[in-house]
């Protein structure tokens, strides 16, 4: 091991001079530094967590982005890359540092129909890419529920999933190459636009790195032919347990549905009360939304199998959407479920644990017990086919007593999922929200290996500092801050890693 170099002394630069330099690059109106203007950027999709950025800059072109990153590198300033801010892990929170917003980089650079690929800028909205390629009989498969707003760059950072990744795989499986600007300002090509290269899979390492490895300037994605046929079924149940067992039975039958989604009674009723009402039976305790796609003949056969499995498993009704309009309506209720929760309370906490599918019935029962213990209403709407749970609780972060009960319940739920052999996050990322659980699933050596990987991409640890891996887990980082400059202090004091979130979960030791 090389000896760590002595910590450089942080130098201060004036915020005003940074703002001026950035404005020269992107234009004055694309740099925000007034606290009131920055309020919009003080949270992501989890509005209960807030951090105030120092300033925000929004480059409009690739060249401007490069110049911004290089300026920040020259000044040694830490920053947080941000797409649409729809993330659900606190990953885009910037605690008194610079936000680099990429939503203006929204060019679809090229579309190659014959080879089924497209090159896009990071700010392209997921659904817009899909609309763009639809007329060619193609689709971009990853479909996070925030698809109407979230960007491909953000999807890369989180390795986003979505209901259809059950069959089609997550973002990682659909990205061939990236041009990346490292936090140092160096530009590198990861993966290959033209084929399958050998060497280390740096593309794979970058996807899901939550903004800690740099920014993507362009992304080459793989497109998928639209299936010949799509059929969507809605099965409703009078018990959560029945629906959970039917989920396992469908998977066990050998069918890989395009999507297999679960919604429990409380969620159904919130959705049905909202503008996203999809016509779900309000008195049901659970519904499964099942989509089958592929070749006509094959889908017809699978449809019959799934229907039979549902009925045998106790479904009250199995309804098959008659046309696209009905399909879209059924899906809207599912995709907007988190939005509908806004009716209940101003803030929402959502988890993203993944458990082995066969443990679904018992873990759902445990979640119910925990919710009763703490007197909170847990809504369950999730990707059942993957075992990817999204227990969520609507609450008011302004009520300290309620907040405490909610966070305690969530910690216990997470522990139950970890004990079932699961992961703490399936698609939302660790960010700040789940960082406290990392030591429950990874050993010190594993966390250190992650720190080492990060240090190769960002030796100064300036890109999204303090996220994903707890700083104390990184052996070689002890007492060695990366080179950082602080802007003239809003309040005097040392540079700090982002503070932990309001409720920091306990740190059980790794197995």
């Amino acid at each position: 091991m090389t000896q760590p170099s002595p910590a450089p002394t942080p130098t201060a630069v004036s915020t005003q001079s940074v703002v001026e330099h950035l404005a020269e690059i992107v234009g004055e109106r694309h740099v925000l530094s007034r606290q009131s203007e920055l309020l919009v950027y003080n949270s992501d999709g989890l509005p209960g967590y807030r951090r105030q950025p120092r300033l925000a800059v929004f480059p409009g072109t690739r060249e401007e982005t490069i110049a911004v990153v290089r300026l920040l590198a020259a000044e040694g300033l830490p920053f947080v890359p941000r797409g649409a801010g729809t993330g659900l892990s606190g990953g885009a929170l910037a605690d008194d540092i610079v936000v680099v917003g990429l939503h203006r980089l929204k060019k679809i650079i090229s579309l190659d129909v014959a080879n089924r690929r497209a090159i896009v800028e990071p700010g392209v909205v997921n659904l817009r890419l899909n609309k763009h390629v639809a007329s060619h009989g193609l689709l971009y498969a990853p479909d996070p529920s925030s698809e109407a707003a979230c960007t491909i760059g953000g999807n890369i950072a989180e390795n986003a999933g979505g209901p259809h990744c059950l069959k089609y795989g997550v973002t990682l499986n659909h990205v061939l190459a990236l041009t990346v600007i490292l936090p140092s300002g160096e530009i590198v090509e990861l993966g290959s636009r033209i084929g399958e290269r050998d060497g280390y899979d740096l593309r794979g390492a970058f996807i899901g790195s939550e903004g800690c490895f740099g920014l993507a300037l362009d992304i080459t994605v793989k497109l998928t032919p639209k299936p010949q046929t799509v059929r969507t079924l809605l099965a409703d149940f009078m018990s959560v347990d029945q629906a959970a067992h039917v989920t396992s039975a469908i998977i066990a039958s050998g069918i890989v549905p395009a999507a297999l989604e679960f919604m429990d009674g409380p969620t159904i009723r919130v959705v049905e009360d909202s503008i996203y009402a999809a016509g779900y039976p309000r008195d049901a305790e659970a519904i499964l939304l099942i989509e089958l796609d592929g070749l006509e003949a094959g889908v017809a056969a699978d449809l019959e199998t799934v229907r039979r499995v549902c009925i045998d498993g106790g479904a009250r009704n199995v309804k098959v959407a008659r046309d696209d309009a009905e399909r879209m309506k059924l899906w809207q209720g599912r995709k907007k479920a988190f939005g509908a929760m806004g009716r209940l309370a101003p803030h929402l906490i959502v988890q993203d644990a993944v458990i082995p599918r066969t443990r679904l019935p018992e873990v759902l029962a445990t979640i119910h017990t925990i919710s009763e213990k703490y007197g909170v209403v847990v809504c369950n709407v999730f990707h059942a086919g993957d075992g990817n749970l999204h227990p969520n609780i609507a609450y008011s972060a302004d009520d300290p007593a309620e907040s405490e009960r909610v966070h305690k319940a969530m910690i216990e739920i997470m522990q139950a999922c970890i004990e079932a052999g699961g992961s703490i996050t399936g698609e939302h990322g660790v960010g700040l929200d789940k960082m406290g659980y990392m030591e429950a699933i990874f050993s010190a050596n594993s966390l250190n290996a992650m720190c080492e990987l990060r240090s190769v991409f960002d030796p100064e640890r300036r890109s999204n500092p303090g996220k994903v891996v707890p700083i104390h887990a990184c052996k070689e980082w002890h007492g060695v801050p990366g080179r950082r400059t602080r802007m003239d202090p809003r309040s005097p004091g040392e540079i700090h890693e982002p503070r932990p979130l309001e409720a920091e979960p306990p740190r059980p030791s790794a197995q």
């Binding site: 899979d201 066969t358 594993s446």
Partner: protein
């Protein structure tokens, strides 16, 4: 051999600086690469299932477990790991992941990295590290599983892997189409096939020499495999028969294709945009290179050139002209040397890890440079 035994062997080497050649069963992936090591660390005895819950469609095995053993274990539950790298099925899963070796099924099920959920490895300091997990979807932490896949043992020794399984299809049928017409007719067939709603498990175009070796005649052929429920497979078989004259063949043809490369001294893989291979396939397949098997996967855009083992001596005598194929490659294709005569490696295969990120990762994970030094041309 346990993880702890691997770790202590590596710690010992880290202290003495003695480099290690990392091997599975040393059956088919050694590839003649110039590893600068005299001592071998073999995982061949580190075998067995760690956990298998069929209902979860996930399997955790020790790295030395052979692909054929995985096949046997999963078949009992009517499941499978759709991973069929070229070579022998008694190769290990650890080596398959370390080398990211894929076969014809990759067009439908993805590359090895797409089937990997998590792994355990020992880095060059002897630290035991885990990446990923045991569930089918996971974004916790930076992706060490992907990083290790295809790293050829240079960043760590893989000791355990967790894989995604699939249910075995109810129907699994293979067909051959003889491409006897002109290059233009071949291209027309390919276009028709690839734009129609087929979803084959595998689809390879074989040169006449490859077809001959598989007992499929003297012309270039297209070998196609359909799997799924009976209705879907029947419908595709029927639709294929509308496009061309087809003949059903035993699924074992795929196995024969996989082992064709056994003993070959030279395997080169070209990868490029799929459309490029489609338009050039007629020309490539009809090119009468004696002693070379050629096959193209027009879905992935991959072409394999395999020196047939029986003519190895001849080829060695005339290496320059036979290997000259690499110089004809258009600049927008990627050339991957899979197997070469040992003495040829340093001359023609450039290092694929010479960029600063790759070098940085290597330094961090194997600071003493004891794991397979030289294997990636570095």
């Amino acid at each position: 051999m346990s993880t702890e035994a691997v770790a202590s062997a590596i710690r010992e080497s880290a202290e003495t600086g003695e480099p290690l050649r990392i091997a599975g069963r040393s059956t088919w992936l050694d590839a003649g690469r110039p590893v600068r090591a005299n001592k071998t660390l073999s995982l061949r005895d580190d075998t067995g299932v760690v956990s298998y819950v069929p209902g979860d469609l996930t399997l955790t095995v020790r790295a030395g477990t052979s692909l054929s053993e995985i096949e046997r274990v999963t078949r009992e539950h009517d499941q499978w790991l759709p991973l069929d790298p070229y070579g022998l099925a008694d190769g290990t899963i650890g080596a398959t992941m370390a080398t990211a070796s894929a076969g014809p099924l990759a067009s439908a099920f993805g590359l090895p990295r797409d089937l990997l959920l998590g792994l355990e490895f020992v880095n060059g300091r002897g630290d035991v590290v885990r990446g990923g997990g045991k569930v089918v979807k996971n974004v916790a932490g930076f992706d060490l599983s992907r990083l290790l896949t295809g790293s050829w043992g240079t960043l760590g020794v893989i000791t355990e892997v967790t894989l995604r399984l699939y249910a075995r299809p109810k129907a699994d049928r293979s067909f051959v189409v003889v491409l006897s017409g002109s290059a233009k007719e071949q291209a027309a067939f390919l276009d028709a096939f690839l734009t129609a709603p087929f979803s084959p498990y595998a689809f390879e175009l074989l040169s006449p020499s490859t077809a001959r070796a598989l007992g499929l005649g003297d012309k270039p052929v297209c070998l196609v495999r359909f799997g799924g429920n009976i209705a879907a497979v029947d419908a595709q078989a029927h639709a294929l028969a509308q496009l061309a004259r087809v003949e059903e063949v035993e699924p074992s043809k795929w196995q024969e294709l996989r082992i064709l490369e056994r003993g070959s001294g030279c395997v080169i893989r070209l990868s490029g945009l799929p459309a490029q291979f489609r338009s050039a396939s007629g020309f490539i397949l009809d090119d009468p290179q004696s002693g070379i098997f050629t096959y193209i996967n027009p879905i992935r855009g991959v072409l394999r050139l395999v020196e047939s083992p029986q003519t190895e001596d001849e080829l060695r005598e005339d290496q320059d002209s036979e290997l000259g194929i690499s110089t004809d490659v258009p600049p927008d294709e990627i050339v991957v040397y899979e197997t070469l005569p040992a003495e040829v490696w340093p001359e023609i295969a450039p290092s694929v890890v010479s960029d600063s990120l790759s070098r940085g990762i290597k330094r961090a994970y194997d600071p003493h440079n004891i794991l397979n030094p030289g294997i990636l041309g570095e």
